[in-house]
């Protein structure tokens, strides 16, 4: 984590002439509240002014649990020209892309068109945010690639948005969030997986989102930290649903990326799924192979926030169990729990694994030469 204020980011970064990296989780922000309006029909502009987004949570603005930092972002990431953290391309280049030698940066816009109860508005906002990603970001810096944000609760309109963007090299994946109205394996979401598989695009599932369900199976907790830690439990349940509904069996070329939910839990979840599947497979005959096999073949993980054992080398056991070919380095810029590229891996990693972890796996998955 990096929450200290740094006067001189370039001088502070130890990676100035170093290995090229991929950053598979960057959050671009809007500089102003109305920045998407040029991409929205007048009707929706008016709707937003009068009714707001009407999300699956109570607050008109802001999250139900106040974040640890303004906009959950680093205090040193405010652009000099103003606007929230992550809203300026030039400052992102200066603070993140250039000093860390980022060759591939995957954009995951949050707080956009997802988790909205009015599904028509959701589709319109997602389409707008996709246009905005091209205009403001990927067309201006070729290192950056966009994610197709889709109206998650309406599988058909989401699939239509994916088909419209398919083949556009600005986009390298489809973006979903982990928390939806139902677990992600449910049939209402299958058109999304079908369209993504047809388009040859991985589906990234980023932690967070709103679907109206409490973030614990025992109701709503009290604190932001419970929500933050809880994202990994949400992700585990979402992945279990994907496996047990047979999504990987039905869409065998589908690739999924678990984003910003940690990865330390992955071996344990796969073991548990395998063990219970041996007992209860007659309930789910469509799951034809041990769950861990689908996970091993079709799931990738971004690294941030890296789990933090007291003995950091313990993490190597977990990575060995998952596979060094399945991790994608990410910083989560500009968020406060940013992982600093030079500090995440303990010593003792082979050159080949290091290269795969920082860049090679991402290039291969996202098809970037």
């Amino acid at each position: 984590m990096n929450i200290q204020f740094r006067e001189n980011q370039e001088a502070a970064s130890p990676l100035t002439v170093k290995t090229a990296i991929a950053d598979c989780d960057i959050h671009p922000a809007r500089a102003t509240r109305t920045e998407l309006y040029p991409y929205l029909a007048k009707r929706w502009q008016h709707h937003l002014e009068v009714y707001g987004v009407h999300a699956y949570q109570g607050m008109m603005e802001g999250p139900p649990y106040p974040k640890a930092q303004p906009n959950a972002s680093r205090r040193d990431a405010y652009p000099p020209e103003g606007g929230p953290q992550g809203s300026s391309l030039s400052f992102m280049q200066k603070q993140l892309l250039d000093p860390n030698n980022v060759q591939l940066g995957v954009l995951n816009p949050l707080g956009t068109g997802q988790g909205i109860r009015n599904h028509e508005l959701s589709a319109a906002l997602c389409s707008a945010i996709n246009d905005w990603q091209i205009d403001k970001w990927t067309s201006k810096d070729k290192r950056l690639k966009a994610s197709i944000v889709v109206g998650n609760e309406d599988g058909l309109s989401a699939a239509a948005e994916i088909r419209e963007r398919a083949g556009d090299k600005n986009f390298v994946q489809v973006l979903l969030l982990s928390r939806n109205v139902e677990p992600l394996g449910q049939r209402r979401y299958w058109p999304i997986y079908q369209a993504a598989e047809e388009a040859g695009l991985p589906v990234g599932v980023h932690a967070f989102g709103f679907g109206g369900n409490p973030i614990t199976p025992s109701g709503w907790p009290s604190y932001y930290i419970e929500e933050m830690v809880g994202h990994s439990q949400c992700q585990q349940s979402a992945l279990a649903s994907l496996v047990l509904e047979g999504v990987f069996e039905r869409f065998p070329k589908l690739k999924m990326v678990m984003i910003e939910a940690g990865f330390g839990w992955a071996p344990s979840l796969a073991w548990r799924l395998d063990k219970v599947w041996q007992r209860l497979r007659s309930e789910v005959p469509h799951v034809k192979r041990p769950p861990s096999e689908y996970i091993r073949e079709q799931v990738w993980w971004t690294t941030q926030p890296m789990e933090d054992p007291e003995r950091r080398e313990d993490l190597f056991d977990v990575i060995n169990w998952i596979g060094w070919d399945r991790l994608l380095f990410a910083t989560d810029y500009p968020h406060w729990d940013y992982d600093e590229p030079s500090r995440v891996l303990p010593a003792g990693v082979s050159e080949a694994n290091r290269e795969a972890f920082y860049l090679g796996n991402a290039r291969k998955l996202y098809g970037i030469a």
Binding site: M1, I3, A68, S178, R179, V181, E182, P183, G185, N213, P214, I215, T216, P217, S218, G219, W220, P221, S222, Y223, I225, E226, M228, V229, G230, S232, Q233, C234, Q236, S237, A240, S241, L244, G262, G264, W265, P267, S268, L269, W271, R272, D274, K275, V276, W277, R279, L280, E283, V284, P305, E307, D308, P309, E310, R311, D314, D317, V318, W321, D337
Partner: protein, 352 residues
């Protein structure tokens, strides 16, 4: 296969209530009348459908009736062959699903009295857990105080998925009573189904509910730790029952990281979550959800950095292992002794 040793403590066995009518002798006139005139049916939780393979090992499944309803079968299946000194009875009857606090209190009282008469009185090796009516904290505390007079009750029992996260301050009088009376609080797999059984909603399948128990335990540990339960009640022990074991360390690595980053939000948490778990939280052995190889097992225990966290359990009659293989491959004799004898005794002061 590590060798079992005699004199062990089985911290999780499940005697089954044959039917709601089995509790009638333990209810007062009003509730007896309610059960019969309203035509109430048996309170079977869908956490454990009677015929689900996980609910009973094939060779432990009776020809008629519910798995776990016969004391003689429990003796023959686990108490005798595993040469147990004690087994702690954790009844998983569906009383937690009841919404009325009065009805729930009557049923819990009946259930606890039934356990005494039909099980604890009939085999001196058995010990019990106090099932509490969590719809009313006041009634829960009263039930704890009533049952605690019988020293054979060694624990308070709650489900991992209830109405609210377990750390919530409203529940603290339960923890105050448990600490005062030297009763650990056992948190068992299962849901009251008052909330969706996963944090992302209702899944389609029983198998999803079962896999999801592990995630429920994780969220509850977060709640218990960050709300400050163990700051307020430092001597309180909590035991995660049928929770799974292999998720513990990676989960704590994550919690530890966020605690370091966001601890200003809960400044009363004055010790690292890892330390709190080592001093106050224990886990039952079964289901041991890791691959059956010695190298992996050794790494998992190494990651825990403690040999005091795990307590022996068979989870009888649930199907977690076959034959006598209650202990996973690769445990050293020292660790077997800790898990089967020393750790349970250190956890449950009322076990003598």
């Amino acid at each position: 296969m590590a060798s079992l040793i005699a004199g062990g403590i089985d911290c999780d066995v499940h005697p089954a209530v044959p039917h709601l009518t089995s509790l009638l002798p333990y209810l007062n006139d009003y509730w007896r009348d309610q059960v019969t005139t309203r035509g109430m049916v048996d309170l079977v939780s869908q956490s454990y459908p009677q015929n689900s393979p996980i609910t009973a090992r094939p060779d432990w499944r009776p020809e008629t009736g519910k798995p776990g309803e016969s004391l003689e079968a429990m003796q023959r299946h686990v108490l005798d062959p595993f040469q147990l000194k004690h087994a702690i009875c954790n009844p998983l009857y569906g009383v937690q699903m009841v919404f009325s606090e009065d009805m729930q209190a009557a049923f819990c009282r009946g259930l606890n009295d039934w356990l005494v008469k039909e099980w604890l009185d009939r085999d001196p090796r058995l010990r019990g857990s106090i099932v509490i009516p969590t719809q009313s904290v006041e009634k829960a505390v009263a039930e704890i105080e009533r049952c605690a007079q019988d020293e054979r009750f060694v624990q308070v029992l709650m489900l991992v998925m209830g109405d609210t996260p377990l750390g919530k301050r409203a529940l603290w009088p339960i923890y105050e009573a448990a600490e005062r009376l030297e009763l650990p609080v056992g948190i068992h797999a299962g849901s009251a189904y008052h909330n969706p059984p996963t944090a992302v909603g209702w899944g389609s399948y029983h198998i999803e509910d079962y896999v999801g128990q592990a995630q429920a335990f994780q969220t509850q540990l977060t709640s218990l730790i960050v709300e400050g339960v163990f700051v307020k009640y430092p001597r309180l022990k909590m035991v995660m029952l049928e929770s799974g074991v292999s998720w513990i360390s990676p989960y704590l690595w994550r919690l530890h990281k966020f605690w370091r980053g966001a601890r200003m939000e809960t400044p009363w948490v004055d010790r690292a979550p890892l330390d709190i778990v080592r001093s106050n939280i224990r886990f039952s052995l079964q289901p041991f959800d890791a691959p059956p190889d010695e190298a992996t097992l050794n790494r998992l225990f190494e990651h825990m950095q403690s040999d005091e966290l795990v307590l022996f359990s068979t989870d009888y009659p649930h199907w977690q292992f076959d034959g006598p293989d209650a202990l996973p491959e690769g445990l050293s004799p020292d660790l077997v002794r800790k898990i089967m004898i020393d750790n349970p005794h250190a956890t449950y002061p009322r076990l003598t």
